[in-house]
């Protein structure tokens, strides 16, 4: 899950990383109160779990206290990349000359945590790596000996050579050690400060991004309690997640219900291959619970773009008869009327075909055949 900026900065402060003076507000009134305490200049920042807030007008500099109300009012309630702004962060505006970038994340290649550090921050790391790859420094962390001093020193020299009032090398080391500690202790998949600035020779985190490993939320009840608040999901995605389904919205019109993530991706690819556009990724997982199929159909039916439904099941642990049971129930209870193309193979597929035959659903054995029919359905054929 992704923490909101103000949540990540609270974590930072708990670990003694400096941030501007700032408070989160849910109403214009709250924002004004905080602003009085903080003083100008200040920044009002939309708290949404997506990037590109600045471009979307979700981050505004305020030089006079009288403007806080109107700016906050404008930002609260905005929609940024489909996310409603429910909170703003009212934050002291600090002066800086150079914007640095620092993050720690898992390097899948070395299977170790790795720092990415750059004196060309303030923009996305992708942009830096495209335009100024020579300004990106990597620092791998060893699980036994930790951050290596000789590498840290070398990055320090390269990174802060243009800084008028550079932080001390021990401050730099402390920052790295702290980020590494946060990375491990909070089960973070990413801890990012961008921009990181230097004020009076000390590091200050102007912005903050943290991803928490969903698989580790069981040992972080605090983050788990934030989960609903930090939604960047669509309504369907959320409903699916809560039902134990992996669902991702796409722009097309052919809904796909598949068991297994790899097969679900491949199914989307083959839909495209035969000229169709998938409306979603949906993995109903390995379980055989008929309720999951009902839920899957409900979620799909709530997407108005969907014109055709494709079900592709390779029965292994998943039993085809359970799938058929769920499908039959769903059709009975939901008044589902979209054209269906069903492919079932594997465990108990014969029983399943028999059950579906009763309700006049024909079933394919071959994946390509089923997909071709689903594409025809979407294109208005039968």
């Amino acid at each position: 899950m992704k923490l909101l900026e103000h949540q990540a900065k609270e974590v930072f402060r708990n670990y003694n990383i400096k941030t501007p003076r700032e408070h989160v507000a849910q109403t214009t009134e709250e924002a004004c109160e905080h602003a009085k305490k903080i003083g100008t200049p200040l920044v009002v920042k939309a708290q949404v779990p997506v990037g590109g807030r600045g471009k979307a007008g979700g981050v505004k500099l305020v030089k006079d206290l009288s403007e806080v109300a109107s700016v906050s009012k404008q930002i609260l309630g905005m929609n940024i990349k489909q996310c409603l702004v429910k909170k703003v962060l009212v934050s002291q505006a600090l002066p800086f000359e150079i914007e640095y970038y620092i993050s720690i994340t898992l390097d899948r290649a070395s299977m170790k945590p790795m720092f990415i550090i750059s004196p060309s921050g303030g923009v996305d790391i992708e942009e830096i790596s495209k335009n100024q790859p020579e300004k990106i420094f990597n620092l791998s962390v060893d699980l036994v000996v930790g951050i290596k001093t000789y590498e840290m020193r070398s990055v320090y020299r390269k990174c802060f050579q243009d800084e008028k009032n550079p932080p001390s090398i021990s401050d730099f080391q402390q920052l790295l050690e702290t980020l590494y500690e946060i990375y491990l202790k909070e089960d973070a998949g990413l801890v990012e400060i961008n921009p990181l600035i230097i004020l009076d020779g000390k590091f200050v985190a102007l912005d903050a991004k943290m991803l928490i490993d969903d698989n580790a939320l069981f040992r972080h009840s605090y983050y788990k309690s934030l989960e609903n608040e930090n939604d960047e999901e669509t309504a369907q995605e959320k409903e699916a997640r809560e039902s134990g389904l992996a669902y991702i919205s796409l722009d097309g019109d052919i809904a796909c219900i598949v068991n297994g993530a790899g097969l679900a991706m491949a199914t989307m690819d083959v839909v495209k291959h035969w000229g169709g556009q998938p409306a979603n990724f949906l993995d109903i997982g390995g379980s055989s619970n008929p309720a999951k199929m009902i839920k899957a159909l409900e979620i799909i039916a709530s997407n108005p773009n969907v014109k055709s439904v494709l079900i592709n099941i390779f029965g292994g642990i998943t039993r085809c008869d359970d799938i058929a049971t769920g499908l039959v129930q769903a059709l009975e209870t939901t008044g589902f009327s979209l054209p269906l193309s069903v492919r079932l193979i594997g465990t108990n597929d014969a029983q399943a075909k028999e059950m579906l035959k009763q309700v006049k659903i024909s079933v394919f054995t071959d994946m390509n055949e089923a997909i071709k029919v689903a594409v025809q359905h979407a294109q208005g054929g039968n």
Partner: protein
Amino acid sequence: MSILIHQNTRVIVQGITGRDGSFHTQQMLEYGTSIVGGVTPGKEGESVHGVPVFNSAKQAVNATGADTSIIYVPERFASDAIIEAADAGISLIVCITEGLPVNDVMKIKQYLDEKGVRLVGPNCPGLISPGKSKIGIMPGHIFKPGNVGVISRSGTLTYEIVYNLTSSGFGTSTCIGIGGDPIIGSSFIDVLHLFKDDPDTESIVLIGEIGGDAEEKAAEYISKNLGHKKVISFIAGRTAPPEKRMGHAGAIISQGKGTAESKVEALESAGVKVAEKPSDIPALLR
């Protein structure tokens, strides 16, 4: 010949008394796998489908001489179960459980490497050498013995492809699902390395997907070391959007990295034919 497992592989099941553990123990026994013991703390003395249960991996290994373990314990306990198996002297650990914290697996991987213990998974369907042994959850009946080695990051997609292979007359030497997580115990390269020297594996099907750069690395390995075997590939996720986790924790295109295009290109440069659709693979193998 086959890789990693054979008729005499002696297996313990960690989490044997659980729903999945019990069900798949039965399935594996029916397939002919030599399941010699199970582990569930506090349940020593019980038996599951005739397999004796022990309190600890150490006790199970001591009593049965097992060399391999398959893990079905819930995600919160799976990391510890892997370590326990390694400490007990198990040399091949297959972790079916999905949902392990990434940092735990990162640490475990280093721990096992130091001890020289091999891990397959987590979040994987296991492995099978048709007609010899099945240590996993794949439907055994779709496989038949043969000379194609299959490696995959996926589960059902693997079954789909194996089904196509079997239907077209191709049998499998060993099929191994390496798992869909960002960090896994055995990589494509680790397994390719084993297939390289397996005389019964004449060609290899590599089933990849978006996320990470395991396929790119595999391509490099193939171009250097596998000139003598035919390698065919399929990459799932050509239509997957960026920055979205496609079911598998590792299946994500992040910051422009891990795209299907990059993988296909790398593999094709290495001389690997990459299928457009799963159903195209048998034709490419001929």
